[in-house]
C-alpha cells in the first residue's frame, strides 16, 4: 500500500489543463518584450575600456549624503539592481534621496582575457570612484558591493581606505571555506590554471550551468513546471521572462581575473587566511576602518550566511552592523519584502554616518 491515489480521469484533466496553460504561456512569451538593461533613467558619466559608470536620475529631495557607488559582480549583469519598476533596489535608494552610481563591467571579449583582478579592483573600480569624487567634489564615497563585487569592494577599501567613507557588503563571500558552501567545495577541486590556459576567457554559460547545478531540480524542472501557475497573468509571465533573461545573460569571464579569483579566494581563502596581494600590494582587511554594513540572506544557496558572517572581526572597523535578510540570493533584490526593507535599511544606516 502506498499514498498514491491518483484517479486516471482526474489525471487526464490535470495534464490537459497543464498543457493548455503552458500553451497560453508560450503565446504570451512570444509577444512579451523584456529587452532591457534596467528601468530607471540614467546617464553614462564615465567609460574606460568596457567598464561604464552610470549615474541615475534622482527625482526625490537630496538626502545630502555622499554619492553611493554600486560595485556589482563580474558574473551576471548589473541590471538585476534595477530589473523593473516594482523590483528595483536602485529605485528604492533614489526614492530616499541617494545619489546612485552603478558600475557595469560589460562583456569581456577574447582581447580582454589578460585583464587581472588588479585591473578590476584597482584600475577600473578606482577610476570610477575617482571620477565620482571629482565630479561630486567629495573626498570619499559610499561603496556598495554586491556578491563578488562585495569581495572586490572589500579589497579596494583595504588598499585605498581614503576613498571609501562607508562600505555596504551585500551577499558578499568573505570566508570561502565554510561547510555550507557547496560552490566552493566544487571549485576547490577544479584545475583553474589548465582551464584558463585552454579556454582563455571562461564562458558565462559554463558558470551559469554550475550555478544551476547547485539545486538542479528546483532551479530548472520545478521552476519551469511552475510556469503553468502563471499562465493568464501577463505581468507575472513578464516578470518570469525578465528574470529568465537575466539568468541566461552571463558574460564570459576574463581568464586572468577569473583564475586569480578562483585560486586566491575560493581555493586558498586568502582574504581570511592572509597572503592576499593584488597589483603587488598586500590586501590587509584590518586596513578597512570605515563603518561596515554587512547584509546577507539567510537562505542564500550561492553565498551562504556562514560565508558572509566572518566579516565581523576581520577588519579594523569599529563600526560594524550585520543585517540578516530572510530570503535567498536573488530574493534579496526582487522579493516584495526587499523593495521596502533593503533601501530603508541602507539609507538609514548611511544617514547615521
Amino acid at each position: 500500500m502506498t499514498r498514491l491515489a491518483i484517479d486516471p480521469a482526474r489525471a487526464a484533466a490535470e495534464m490537459a489543463e497543464f498543457c493548455q496553460r503552458m500553451a497560453n504561456a508560450a503565446r504570451q512569451f512570444a509577444i512579451i518584450d523584456v529587452r532591457t538593461e534596467g528601468c530607471s533613467p540614467r546617464a553614462e558619466v564615465y567609460r574606460q575600456d568596457k567598464t561604464v559608470l552610470w549615474r541615475y536620475e534622482r527625482r526625490s529631495p537630496d538626502a545630502g549624503l555622499p554619492p553611493l557607488v554600486i560595485c556589482y559582480a563580474l558574473v551576471n549583469r548589473p541590471y538585476m539592481m534595477d530589473l523593473q519598476p516594482d523590483r528595483s533596489l536602485i529605485r528604492g535608494l533614489l526614492a530616499r534621496g541617494l545619489d546612485v552610481y552603478l558600475i557595469d563591467w560589460g562583456y569581456p571579449e577574447e582581447a580582454d582575457s589578460h585583464l587581472a583582478l588588479d585591473d578590476y579592483v584597482n584600475r577600473y573600480l578606482g577610476t570610477c570612484i575617482d571620477h565620482v569624487r571629482s565630479a561630486r567634489g567629495v573626498e570619499s564615497v559610499n561603496l556598495l558591493g554586491v556578491c563578488q563585487g562585495g569581495t572586490m569592494s572589500l579589497c579596494h577599501a583595504a588598499l585605498h581606505p581614503e576613498r571609501v567613507r562607508n562600505l555596504v557588503a551585500m551577499v558578499t563571500p568573505v570566508d570561502f571555506h565554510t561547510d555550507e558552501n557547496l560552490l566552493s567545495k566544487w571549485v576547490r577541486k577544479v584545475d583553474v590554471d589548465r582551464m584558463v590556459e585552454e579556454l582563455g576567457n571562461v564562458p558565462g554559460e559554463l558558470l551559469n550551468a554550475t550555478f544551476l547545478a547547485l539545486m538542479p531540480l528546483r532551479l530548472t524542472v520545478q521552476k519551469y513546471a511552475g510556469i503553468a501557475d502563471l499562465a493568464g497573468d501577463r505581468e507575472a509571465l513578464a516578470n518570469f521572462l525578465r528574470m529568465e533573461r537575466w539568468i541566461h545573460d552571463s558574460p564570459d569571464q576574463a581568464g586572468t581575473a577569473f583564475r586569480q579569483f578562483i585560486r586566491w579566494f575560493f581555493q586558498e581563502n586568502r582574504l581570511v587566511r592572509g597572503g592576499l596581494q593584488i597589483g603587488g600590494k598586500r590586501v590587509d582587511p584590518r586596513r578597512i576602518v570605515c563603518p561596515l554594513l554587512n547584509i546577507y540572506a539567510t537562505q542564500d544557496h550561492l553565498v551562504p550566511p556562514s560565508a558572509s558572517r566572518p566579516l565581523a572581526g576581520l577588519t579594523g572597523s569599529r563600526d560594524y552592523t550585520a543585517f540578516e535578510f530572510d530570503g535567498g540570493h536573488i530574493g534579496i533584490y526582487v522579493s516584495k519584502t526587499a523593495q521596502e526593507l533593503l533601501p530603508r535599511t541602507i539609507a538609514q544606516w548611511l544617514e547615521k554616518r
Partner: protein, 190 residues
C-alpha cells in the same frame, strides 16, 4: 518529446506546447538570445514533467500505478538529467576514439555517471519511503503534480547529500578537466 512516450489524451496538446515554445525560442527577436536560451532549457526540463506523467500513464489506465513500476523510468530519467549535456559530437568523437583525451573523458564520464546513478537510486529510495503508508505524513497523493513535487523534493535531497561530498566534487572536476582537454584536441591551437 522522447519517442517512446505512448499515446495519451493530452499528448497532442503537449506537442502543441512544444511547438509554441520552439517558435519562441527560434524567434529570438522579441526576447533576445538569453531568453531564447531560457526557452530551450524550459522545454528540455518541461519534458521531464510531461515525461514522468507519460511514464505513469499506462499504469494509471490499467489501474495499477505503483511506485516499483516507475522505478526504472524515474531513475533513468534522473540520471539523464544530471549528466552534463556537453559531450563531443559523434562526428568529432570518431577520430578521437583512441586519443588519450577521449579515453580520459570516457573514464571521467563513467566515474561521474556512477555518482549520478547512486544519487538517482537514493532519490527513488527516499520517494518510496515518503510514499509508503507508514510515512508520518500519510496524506494521499491525488495528482501527478503532487507526485512530481515529491519526486523533486526527494531528488534534491539525495543530490544535496552527495554533492557536498569529496567524491562528487572530484568526479565533477575530473569530468570538466577532461572536457577541456578534449576541446583542446578538437580545436586548432590558439
Amino acid at each position: 518529446m522522447p519517442a517512446n512516450i505512448p499515446a495519451t489524451p493530452w499528448l497532442h496538446a503537449w506537442l502543441e506546447v512544444e511547438r509554441a515554445f520552439s517558435e519562441v525560442s527560434m524567434q529570438g527577436a522579441k526576447g533576445s538570445d538569453p531568453v531564447a536560451q531560457g526557452m530551450r532549457r524550459l522545454m528540455e526540463f518541461g519534458n521531464d514533467y510531461a515525461g514522468i506523467a507519460a511514464d505513469c500513464w499506462p499504469k494509471l489506465q490499467a489501474g495499477n500505478l505503483d511506485l516499483d513500476g516507475l522505478r526504472a523510468s524515474l531513475v533513468e530519467r534522473y540520471q539523464r538529467f544530471l549528466m552534463p549535456a556537453v559531450a563531443p559530437s559523434p562526428a568529432a568523437a570518431i577520430p578521437l576514439a583512441t586519443s588519450a583525451a577521449f579515453l580520459r573523458y570516457q573514464q571521467a564520464s563513467q566515474r561521474f555517471g556512477r555518482q549520478v546513478a547512486a544519487i538517482a537510486l537514493e532519490a527513488f529510495r527516499r520517494l518510496s519511503e515518503s510514499i509508503g503508508t507508514n510515512a508520518p505524513d500519510a496524506t494521499p497523493i491525488t495528482s501527478l503534480r503532487e507526485l512530481h513535487e515529491l519526486w523533486i523534493e526527494c531528488g534534491e535531497a539525495a543530490y544535496s547529500a552527495a554533492a557536498h561530498g569529496d567524491e562528487f566534487a572530484e568526479a565533477q572536476a575530473e569530468l570538466l578537466a577532461s572536457l577541456v582537454e578534449l576541446r583542446r584536441e578538437q580545436l586548432p591551437r590558439r
